[in-house]
């Protein structure tokens, strides 16, 4: 299966390598580096590269390339999924996944990789199991380790693999037993010039943070499970009970995990929380243009819209801009032509507006392409689909846990198409 793994930074330096079978020379990465050179953006590097003797499957994530070397047929997604798990594992252990973090914890990352695969086949990928074998660093522990000379490797040998529930370790103890669930929904939408919805759908995810002692068996039920059109689960969820009773019944992993992701049927009308009035126009002759954008609340179910941010990729021929915002502040990077307007909270009484002039490079023709606005927003305490958690029951343990549910709605890929009108200066 997976022969080797190389971690490569954007400048092409291979700063970590791990081999699970015979060593593969790093020169194999040359094919990859070549493809990387060719691609304009790191995202454009093809994930699967075919070389004479090997196959290279890579992912680009957190400004790092995870490159795996394969010698025989294997489902490519198997490898891709695993590479993402590696990245998630690093994130989980060290708080972030970056070159410096990996370099700082080189030995530990190497040991983790050793445990994750055996002969190229995944052995332990559940973070609970891994954490039992190799403890993540904490400030306290690193102090203790320095003083006493002990280390991060678990003193007791792992037991997780041997329990019937691979994702949960035995003997978890908390003084405060808590279970929190965050229902996070993202609206993916494309609105056209007139504000009508071209495409909208809701993608949701239930993130859980469960800190409960022992072996709790939880049942989470929704008021309106019929809303959910398509779901995917953490392996702990019992499929059959979902099929028959539409409840999520599971023995949770310890700590943070994604319980389920779901999709709300696009046929149901999706409430669009904001509207955007905009016009970007250029004078037919001369090299000037105007930009005028107003954002206002639409269907917000009485909640405040926060964290509103408008991002525009302006046409390449723009020379400079001169705008004023009635609320919030804007930044503009002339190199990337990226205009970011950070509005913050939406006030329905006084709608934020950004307007001003754009000037084009001398002699450049009027841009024909319509820049689209990307909107970012956040609404606390609201799941825009209307999904509601009904109750959470715990079985199997005696204590009373503290339970909490939080709803958040965010903008996912939320785009507003614009019109570039041309105006005749003299009329």
């Amino acid at each position: 299966m997976i022969n080797s793994l190389f971690l490569i930074n954007p400048s092409g330096e291979m700063f970590l390598e791990k081999h699970w079978k015979s060593v593969v020379s790093r020169s194999v990465c040359d094919y990859f580096l070549e493809a990387k050179e060719k691609a304009l953006e790191p995202e454009d590097v093809p994930p699967v590269i075919h070389t004479p003797h090997h196959y290279l499957i890579s992912i680009y994530r957190d400004k790092l390339f995870f490159l795996s070397v394969i010698q025989t047929e294997v489902p490519p997604l198997f490898v891709i999924e695993f590479l993402h798990r590696v990245a998630e594992m690093i994130q989980d252990y060290f708080g972030e996944c970056s070159e410096t973090v990996v370099k700082d914890h080189m030995v530990m990352v190497y040991e983790l990789l050793e445990e994750m695969l055996d002969n190229g086949f995944p052995l332990a990928t559940e973070s609970n199991v891994l954490k039992e074998m190799i403890r993540p660093p904490t400030i306290l522990r690193s102090v203790v380790n320095t003083l006493t000379g002990t280390s991060n490797v678990g003193d007791t040998l792992l037991t997780g693999q041997l329990s019937t529930i691979p994702w949960r370790r035995a003997g978890v103890r908390y003084t405060n037993n808590e279970a929190y669930f965050d229902v996070v929904e993202e609206i993916d939408a494309i609105l056209d010039q007139s504000g009508t919805t071209v495409f909208a759908e809701i993608q949701g995810v239930v993130e859980a943070c469960v800190k409960l002692s022992g072996m709790p068996d939880l049942t989470l039920s929704f008021m309106n499970p019929r809303l959910l059109d398509d779901v995917s689960f953490h392996p702990c969820v019992r499929y059959k009970l979902w099929e028959s009773e539409r409840v999520l019944s599971f023995i949770p992993p310890d700590g943070n995990f994604t319980l389920m992701t779901y999709h709300v049927n696009a046929q149901n009308l999706v409430a669009i929380p904001v509207y955007v009035k905009q016009s970007i126009s250029f004078f037919e002759c001369g090299s000037d243009g105007r930009l005028d954008v107003t954002v206002g609340p639409k269907q917000t179910m009485g909640k405040t819209v926060e964290g509103v941010m408008v991002t525009v990729h302006l046409p390449k021929t723009i020379l400079s801009i001169n705008l004023t915002a009635t609320q919030g502040s804007y930044t503009y990077d002339n190199g990337t032509k990226l205009l970011v307007w950070d509005i913050g909270k939406l006030n329905p009484q006084k709608l934020p507006n950004l307007r001003g002039s754009l000037s084009l490079q001398a002699g450049a023709p009027k841009p024909e392409e319509n820049p689209s606005l990307n909107i970012d927003l956040k609404i606390q305490q609201l799941a825009i689909s209307g999904l509601k958690v009904n109750r959470l029951d715990m079985f199997g343990e005696k204590y009373k846990p503290f339970k909490g549910v939080k709803y958040i709605t965010k903008a996912g890929k939320f785009q507003v198409l614009t019109i570039t009108a041309s105006i005749n200066k003299y009329t």
Binding site: E17, P47, V48, Y55, E81, D104, L162, T219, W242
Partner: protein, 1013 residues
């Protein structure tokens, strides 16, 4: 940077190394060094640290060494120093040494042998984890000389008690095989052994080993096929992928094609993919009806839930399984899940889109409803964009083409010009595929000719050229338009295309073509090669059609071409000159010049690059790269005749029973009991009456279940109705019976219960022991206790004088075995008769309910008892319905206590233990309680338990343990309760049931009942 830093100097001197502070050392680890000199100095120092007798120093040294390895530096010369520490007591040090050994053993074979004895000792360790890790390292050391030792270790580990060790041995098989392929035969023996393993931990790993060592030994799978199917949901994600891929291949060799019948519904039945099937249908006309092998169905059914997995690899592997194995009308279930994956990481999208691209060519209908999911976003990566374009083009049809074209229009304006060019090609493909829009597309493309961007214009020209070629009749004005644009177009390919068009259709534009040629003559020398070639072509064609105007021009161009720097152009010029200009040397060929140059040319076919990707199994690496990857295993064609099905039959009966509990929610279990009753009645005539009753009942329930069989396929019904030989030959009847028992839902068996009961009877005699105990185990007994407690259904105040109370008589429901029977007593407290009391609207919950007959008239002060059957579906959700009289309607609800949803079962203590053994882990809930003083002997405990729940008492050999058994009414899941008395009135209540919601609820009720004073 060549000079060693001060820290270095201090460090490399042996005396001071011990006194160095810790922080110094760690900072050293971070410093990277590429200098050879530095490296060797460091290594000396490391050696010393490894040889010291302080673990902490050794550990530091090892950490630095591992860091070296991780960064790809060579640390092999430290091997002798490191290997000495292999037997260290310090776990962390040991681990690091293992890591080092695995990396360098291959290079230092002789020295590596020193460590082997340590591992051999560890293989006998009482701790399973130490055994496993020893085997892991031992097998990772790629030293050929230890092959026999490895072989022995693997064989031993394969029969280890611990499933974890067995899993490790499955991994070791592959390692040994790659080290020494000659061991294949022995390894296959081990694989065979491990395939039989029932642990979910082992399953994935051993199938992986099977795939690497002996993928052709399909015969090893037969006996384990059903087990693998059933374990699948509980295997870890990675194992699921491997098992599903293997089972796909297996199924294609063992089952016949399910595609024959519904081949008619195929959208593109002309594709090569289906050709073979059609042939088969023709050949085997007499074999009209297709029956799906129950094992085939089992696989499809058990993989389906995995479409909900969070692991994208699992989802796609299930999707490809359905694509390659499921009947055409069932493949649709995978669509939604695949579309879901498009929200995942970019790389996942890439692979999924490729698979969708292949699928969408064959089955547009599958993805058409999700067309919008394939709309390109400006943030998508280039390869994602082009794949989405590809899919949108494949999905285009008459109905949606206008939407797609509108979408394409915005893409053409994209800043990414390569993508815009790709879009234009896609428009071209749509235009050729859908003749209705050809003209619209062509006009749109012509508009693009005035685009400011060169790539866009060029691509449009090329595409227009191809389109015109398919429809050469009209469009002379488009050609004229292009001729006008000619001066402004600089891209060679586009210029060449226009020239070609001019030449090809020169007779349609007689005025313009010679003029274009004149312009070309002027600029000939500065053109690109491809344009020059087309100029020569144009000249030749014009010379043939219009020699009067163009003779001189042609000759001029041919002369220019003759002295061109490029030999292709010189060649072409020479050839053309011989062909068209008549002279004495030109032979017979000159006569055919017209026919050669102006022959009608076939239109180019614009088709998808994914057209023939389906020769590879979907989801594979080979499919992604469109070449056969090494180690790719071909998916075979369906066999014309299915190989013997009985090879998959398993002798042992236990798994069958497990199966029943898991997959037969329906009345099968009671049914079996009835069958047994019937069979026994044949032996004892005095039970005849009950037998006839039961067979009546079975008929009723079978018809019921047939109605409810939403999942049933027509094929399946045919299976069940078909062969009469079932009865005649007993062994086959047995085989088939098990087959069906195993693989189909209850209804299949039920619908032929009569003929079956007889074969079952014979079966009982043939194999008296296992089945009779199985049947006994399932026997539903009468209730141990019927509580008198009545619950209010409708109070007389709210019911305007009608009062109703309900109670649970705990009798098996007559109407349908899955129902719980409820008795309702209705009383009229008014002074006038109530008429037409009946059950009205049952609300939206949709609980299945058998109503009582309408009570026509209830006199004042009179009361009547009616009975009702409610299928609570094994949940304590209340049954809401309306109780109606002639005038009024009252909403009422029946709220069952969890204990009422069971039916008592009788079983022996042994059976009880066996069942309990199968329901551990997640299926077990327990609690310790303090018993009330009076509840310490058998009788009160039994009574208390029976009051709470409708369970049967299991005879117990021990005084302090009390057991109760039952099954849930609706799905027939086993419920086992154990009350174990401990010291000083403490007691442990344990409940085992797969119904994970009901278990804890029952536990709560029992706790309350038994602690109550």
């Amino acid at each position: 940077n060549r000079a060693p830093g001060p820290a270095w100097l201090g460090y490399s001197s042996p005396g001071s190394s011990l006194s160095l502070s810790l922080s110094n050392r760690t900072s050293l680890i971070d410093s990277t060094c590429s200098d050879l000199f530095l490296l060797s100095t460091r290594n000396d120092d490391l050696k010393e640290m490894l040889e010291s007798n302080k673990d902490s120093l050794k550990l530091d040294a090892m950490k630095r060494i591992i860091a070296l390895i991780a960064t790809g530096k060579n640390a092999s010369e430290l091997f002798p120093a490191v290997v000495k520490n292999v037997a260290s007591k310090n776990i962390e040090l040991k681990k690091l040494v293992y890591v080092y050994l695995v990396r360098y053993a291959e290079e230092q074979q002789d020295l590596a042998l020193l460590s082997i004895s340590t591992f051999q000792r560890a293989l006998k360790d009482p701790n399973q984890l130490i055994r496993a890790s020893a085997l892991r390292v031992l097998s990772s050391i790629r030293v050929p000389i230890i092959v026999p030792i490895m072989m022995l270790a693997i064989k031993e580990a394969a029969s280890d008690m611990s499933p974890y060790v067995r899993k490790t041995s499955a991994h070791a098989i592959q390692k040994l095989y790659s080290l020494d392929p000659d061991q294949k035969e022995h390894l296959i023996e081990v694989i065979d052994k491990l395939l039989k393993d029932k642990s979910t931990l082992v399953a994935g790993s051993v199938v992986m080993a099977f795939e690497e060592v002996c993928p052709d030994r399909i015969d090893l799978i037969h006996k384990n096929y059903r087990k693998l199917c059933n374990l699948l949901v509980d295997v870890e994600e990675w194992g699921q992928v491997v098992i599903i891929t293997m089972l796909t291949r297996y199924a294609r060799t063992q089952f016949t094609s399910p595609w024959k019948e519904d081949g008619l519904f195929d959208e593109n039945s002309e594709t090569a993919f289906y050709e073979s099937d059609e042939k088969k249908t023709k050949n085997g006309d007499e074999k009209k009806s297709y029956m799906m092998d129950p094992d085939h169905r089992l696989l499809l059914r058990n993989t389906k839930p995995l479409l909900q997995s969070r692991n994208t690899a699992v989802v796609v592997s299930v999707a490809q399984l359905y694509w390659h194995l499921a009947p055409k009308h069932e493949v649709g279930v995978i669509t939604k899940s695949l579309v879901r994956l498009l929200r995942s990481h970019r790389e996942v999208q890439y692979v999924v889109l490729q698979n969708i691209a292949t699928m969408s060519i064959q089955r547009k209908g599958m993805f058409e409803p999700y067309m919008k999911s394939f709309y390109v976003r400006s943030t998508d990566a280039t390869h994602i964009k082009s794949l989405k374009l590809e899919i949108l083009t494949s999905l285009a049809n008459e109905a949606n083409i206008s939407t797609i074209l509108r979408e394409f229009q915005t893409y053409v304006k994209s800043q990414d010009k390569q993508f815009a060019a790709g879009t234009i090609q896609a428009i071209g493909r749509c235009a050729t595929n859908i003749s209705e829009v050809t003209d619209t597309c062509l006009q749109g493309l012509v508009l693009l000719l005035s685009n400011r961007d060169e790539t866009v214009v060029a691509e449009s020209v090329v595409v227009i050229k191809k389109l015109l070629q398919t429809q050469p009749t009209q469009h002379s004005d488009i050609i004229k338009h292009m001729a006008k644009l000619f001066d402004n177009i600089a891209v060679p390919m586009a210029r060449a295309s226009i020239l070609w068009l001019m030449g090809e259709y020169c007779e349609r534009v007689p005025q313009i073509a010679p003029d274009v040629l004149r312009k070309m003559a002027k600029s000939f020398t500065s053109e690109e090669d491809i344009v020059k070639l087309q100029t020569v072509n144009l000249a030749a064609k014009l010379y043939l059609t219009n020699s009067k105007q163009t003779k001189l021009l042609t000759q001029y161009i041919l002369n220019l071409g003759k002295y061109d720097q490029n030999y292709d152009i010189r060649d072409r010029t020479r050839f053309i000159r011989q062909l068209i200009v008549p002279n004495e040397k030109s032979g017979a060929l000159g006569k055919y010049a017209r026919r050669i140059l102006l022959a009608p040319k076939p239109a180019p076919v614009l088709e998808s690059t994914y057209k023939d990707r389906d020769r590879y199994q979907l989801g594979t690496l080979s499919h992604t790269i469109n070449t056969k990857a090494s180690g790719y295993l071909e998916l075979s064609d369906w066999p014309a005749v299915a190989p013997d099905q009985s090879v998959r039959n398993v002798e042992v009966i236990e798994p069958v029973m497990i199966h029943l509990y898991f997959y037969y929610p329906c009345p099968l279990i009671t049914q079996m009991k009835l069958c047994v009753l019937e069979s026994s009645s044949e032996a004892e005539s005095d039970e005849e009456k009950s037998s006839s009753q039961s067979s009546e009942e079975s008929d009723k329930s079978s018809s019921q279940s047939e109605k409810s069989s939403s999942e049933s396929d027509s094929e399946q019904k045919k299976t069940t109705k078909k062969p009469p030989q079932k009865k005649t030959v007993k062994p086959t009847a047995k085989d088939r019976y098990y087959n069906e028992l195993f693989n189909t839902y209850g209804y299949t068996v039920l619908s032929q219960s009569k003929c079956l009961s007889r074969s079952l009877f014979s079966l009982c005699i043939l194999t008296p022991c296992p089945l009779s105990c199985a049947a006994a185990l399932l026997q539903v007994s009468g209730p141990a206790f019927v509580p008198e407690k009545r619950h209010d259904l409708l109070h007389r105040m709210t019911g305007k004088g009608l009062s109703a109370q309900y109670q649970f008589p705990r009798q098996p429901c007559l109407y349908q075995p899955t129902m719980v029977s409820v008795q309702i007593s209705l009383t009229n407290t008014t002074d006038h008769p109530l008429e037409q009391i009946h059950i009205g609207d049952r609300g939206p919950t949709g609980l299945d309910m058998h109503c009582f007959n309408t009570v026509e008239c209830l006199l004042p002060e009179a009361s009547v008892t009616v009975s009702l059957g409610v299928d609570f579906n094994d949940s304590t959700q209340a049954a809401n319905f309306q109780l109606c009289t002639k005038e009024d309607q009252f909403s009422v609800s029946i709220q069952p206590a969890v204990g009422e949803l069971f039916l008592p079962a009788t079983m022996t203590e042994q059976d009880f233990r066996k069942e309990q053994g199968k329901l551990l882990g997640m299926n077990e809930s327990s609690a310790t309680i303090t018993m009330a003083a009076e509840n310490t002997t058998r009788q009160p405990i039994s009574r208390q338990v029976a009051t709470v729940a409708n369970l049967g008492v299991v005879p117990s050999g021990q005084d302090n343990i009390h057991r109760f058994a039952g099954k849930t009414a609706s799905s027939g899941a086993v419920v086992l309760v154990t009350v174990e008395l401990r010291e000083s009135s403490a007691a442990l209540i344990t409940i085992n049931t797969e119904k994970s919601v009901m278990g804890p609820m029952l536990l709560r009720d029992l706790k309350r009942a038994l602690t109550r004073a």
